[in-house]
């Protein structure tokens, strides 16, 4: 097994682990972490793939860098939203019927 394959597999494993996290956790911060983990897995795979030729493919590196930028900004936005949501939740505990019952007879 080459290093590339190893990294690829590890990346895939991280990706799946993160997916498992998304499946199981209910806490928003944990979910965010899971998403970041998923990003890490993806980037790992990408970097591993970059190494399939020698010298390593710069295009993929560039993509990873771009991806990281996107991920960081997204995480920032997510953190802001999550904290705001938590504060809103805390102050007003009544309106958490986000995906509420769809039927007619629910009275607010």
């Amino acid at each position: 097994m080459s290093a590339m394959q190893l990294y690829t597999i590890v990346g895939a494993a991280i990706f799946l682990l993160a997916l498992h996290g998304l499946l199981m956790t209910t806490d928003s911060i944990r979910r965010l972490i899971a998403v970041n983990l998923m990003g890490a897995g993806t980037f790992l795979i990408m970097i591993a793939l970059a190494a399939r030729i020698s010298p390593p493919d710069p295009v993929l590196h560039a993509l990873v860098v771009t991806g990281l930028v996107v991920a960081i900004s997204a995480t920032a936005l997510a953190l802001r939203l999550i904290t705001s949501a938590a504060i809103a939740q805390h102050s007003q505990d009544s309106e958490n019927k986000g995906d509420g019952d769809l039927s007619e007879d629910v009275k607010p």
Binding site: L19, T25, R31, G98, D99, G100, D101, S103
Partner: protein
């Protein structure tokens, strides 16, 4: 020469009068005394018939008028009957409720009756026939008593049934005549037994012979007397008239046409059936009707009801003549005269008798002359119906016998003799019951106008033979001694039996008088049944309650956890898609 277009004034005159009546409701007390005027055009044209009028604009195939003896005679009789009865009613119906309604229906029925007679095509006939039948309902139930309403219901049910059967029949016959509704074209059209059956039942329901008579003995007595007079005198004859017109060979009984009929019937593969096959059974039915009317009529205690049964009986004879003509196609012309004589005779006599039912109730005879006229006026039509010599009845019966004898069908003759005898019995009972009305009448003078009208109508049976050539000829033939004897003995026998019964004071057994007409029950049963749900409604209702609980569970299941469930679905979708791609 009169313009053919004027034919339409015959049915139109009553309608115009109707318009007048509606427009001036305040004149309701005066206008009806002029209602006889609306019969004048019909009377005029029956004497001076213009050429046939075939307008393009009216319903398809409409064709009115003509100068055939059947048409003119029938028209004259009908017009006179309606005019006299109308004038009578104008006096007798002066008081009471719903007069306007009565006259509206009267005029509609009159218009229809005249139209059907002058029509030369089946459609126009049907137009008139329906108008007459349906409007007569208004006359039947005019009194508004429960008996009248019951009778009316049955009448209407059967009238509508008859009309529908008639329409089906005439559509089929018109189809056989390549889509033509003209009677002229029907002469050479093949006749199908089903069509014939439909026409006979449809028109028979109006004519009221046994076994299609069930409504007649109820409806005729229920109506006011003048209405009964036209019902029995003019309207039911429309059925017989129609049968004569509809069943092939209408006006020109030329032998060629008959041959044609037979040939084309065979050509169209109807296994050689022809109307003459039904002649014998129909004659038997006619005789059954004649006797049935008598037998049942004798048990009745109401004068008008007895008279109605007498109509059933007499319509049997008319059917008999009609059926005979199917068999003796060579003698159709002769038979037509017989039929006409019989119909006219019965029309006037029966109308006069029905009017007596009102007249005798209306007051006491004052003075010897009036009493005499009263008795004579009652007995003349009654005896004429029995077939007394010198009366129209003798002419009618003798004419029929002649035909039978000439055709060698002598085995029918005894039945006719017995019929005459039994008829006499029935009419004796009718006269007896009518006279009893006089005794119950209020002690006031008989209204003059009614008396005159009634008396002139009552004298018709003896006057007619001298006014009208065909009847005159027929009557003259009966003046041989042996004929007089032959005609008289049943009458004399009948009168003797009747006299004996009255002398002994025999009464009709109670249980017989109380027999009710089972068809009344059927009628009410039908009406009730029709109000119940007969067929299911197609309405789809989803079972909401169980669905609702499923939905609630489903919603609860998906509540919350958008992210978790989306992740799960993501996985599941990928697996499914992968599997699908591997399989494909």
């Amino acid at each position: 020469m009169i313009e053919p277009l004027l034919w339409i004034t015959v049915p139109l005159a009553p309608l115009l009068f109707l318009l007048l009546l509606i427009s001036f409701p305040k004149a309701l007390t005066k206008l009806p005394s002029w209602i006889w005027v609306s019969c004048v055009p019909a009377l005029v044209f029956s004497l001076l018939p213009p050429a046939t009028f075939s307008p393009d604009g009216l319903w398809p195939g409409a064709s009115l008028g003509g100068d055939h003896v059947l048409l003119t005679t029938w028209l004259a009789m009908t017009a006179v009957l309606w005019a006299v009865a109308g004038a009578y009613a104008a006096d007798s119906m002066r008081e009471g409720e719903h007069l306007q309604r009565f006259w509206v229906f009267w005029l509609l029925a009159l218009s229809g009756n005249l139209l059907l007679i002058i029509s030369q095509d089946a459609m126009s006939f049907y137009v008139g026939f329906s108008m007459m039948s349906l409007s007569a309902y208004g006359l039947v139930i005019h009194n508004g008593t429960s008996a009248a309403r019951r009778a009316g219901r049955l009448y209407l049910q059967l009238a509508v049934l008859g009309e529908v059967l008639l329409l089906s029949g005439l559509l089929m016959q018109a189809h056989a005549a390549q889509g033509s509704f003209m009677f002229i074209d029907w002469v050479s059209a093949p006749l199908d037994p089903l069509t014939a059956l439909l026409l006979i039942t449809g028109l028979g329901l109006k004519a009221g012979f046994w076994p299609l008579h069930v409504w007649l003995p109820l409806a005729h007595p229920a109506a006011p007397a003048p209405a009964s007079a036209v019902l029995s005198g003019a309207m039911i004859k429309a059925g017989i008239f129609g049968l004569w017109m509809f069943l092939p060979d209408i006006f020109e009984p030329a032998s060629s046409a008959i041959v044609d009929t037979a040939e084309s019937a065979q050509a169209s593969g109807l296994s050689g059936w022809s109307l003459s096959d039904w002649s014998q059974p129909a004659m038997v039915i006619g005789l059954i009707s004649a006797f049935f009317g008598v037998v049942v009529g004798l048990t009745r205690t109401d004068a008008k009801q007895v008279l109605a049964y007498s109509s059933v009986s007499q319509m049997g004879y008319l059917l008999f003549i009609l059926a005979l003509s199917w068999q003796l196609s060579a003698q159709r012309e002769v038979l037509l005269i017989v039929l006409l004589v019989y119909a006219v005779h019965h029309g006037f006599a029966k109308a006069a008798l029905f009017l007596s039912a009102d007249l005798l109730k209306s007051g006491k005879a004052s003075g010897r002359t009036q009493s005499f006229v009263l008795i004579a006026g009652l007995l003349v039509p009654a005896l004429a119906l029995c077939g007394l010599i010198f009366s129209s009845g003798a002419a009618a019966k003798a004419g029929l016998k002649d035909v039978l004898e000439n055709a060698g069908l002598v085995y029918w003759l005894p039945w006719l003799q017995i019929g005459a005898m039994t008829s006499t019995l029935l009419l004796a009972r009718a006269s007896y019951l009518l006279f009893r009305l006089q005794s119950k009448a209020p002690s006031q003078a008989i209204p003059r106008q009614r008396f005159v009208l009634w008396a002139s109508l009552s004298m018709m049976p003896v006057l007619l033979p001298w006014l009208w050539m065909p009847m005159n000829e027929a009557l003259l033939k009966t003046l041989a001694i042996y004929k007089i004897v032959e005609l008289s003995w049943p009458v004399v026998l009948g009168i003797s039996v009747a006299g004996f019964v009255i002398w002994r004071g025999w009464q009709v057994p109670h249980f017989l008088t109380r027999m009710t007409n089972p068809f009344l029950l059927y009628s009410i049963h039908f009406t009730r049944r029709s109000k119940k749900a007969l067929l299911p409604a197609f309405e789809f209702n989803l079972p909401t309650a169980p669905l609702r609980s499923i939905e609630r569970r489903w919603n609860r299941y998906w509540q919350g956890g958008t992210v978790n469930r989306s992740a799960a679905l993501l996985l599941i979708f990928m697996v499914v898609a992968a599997v699908f791609m591997l399989i494909a």
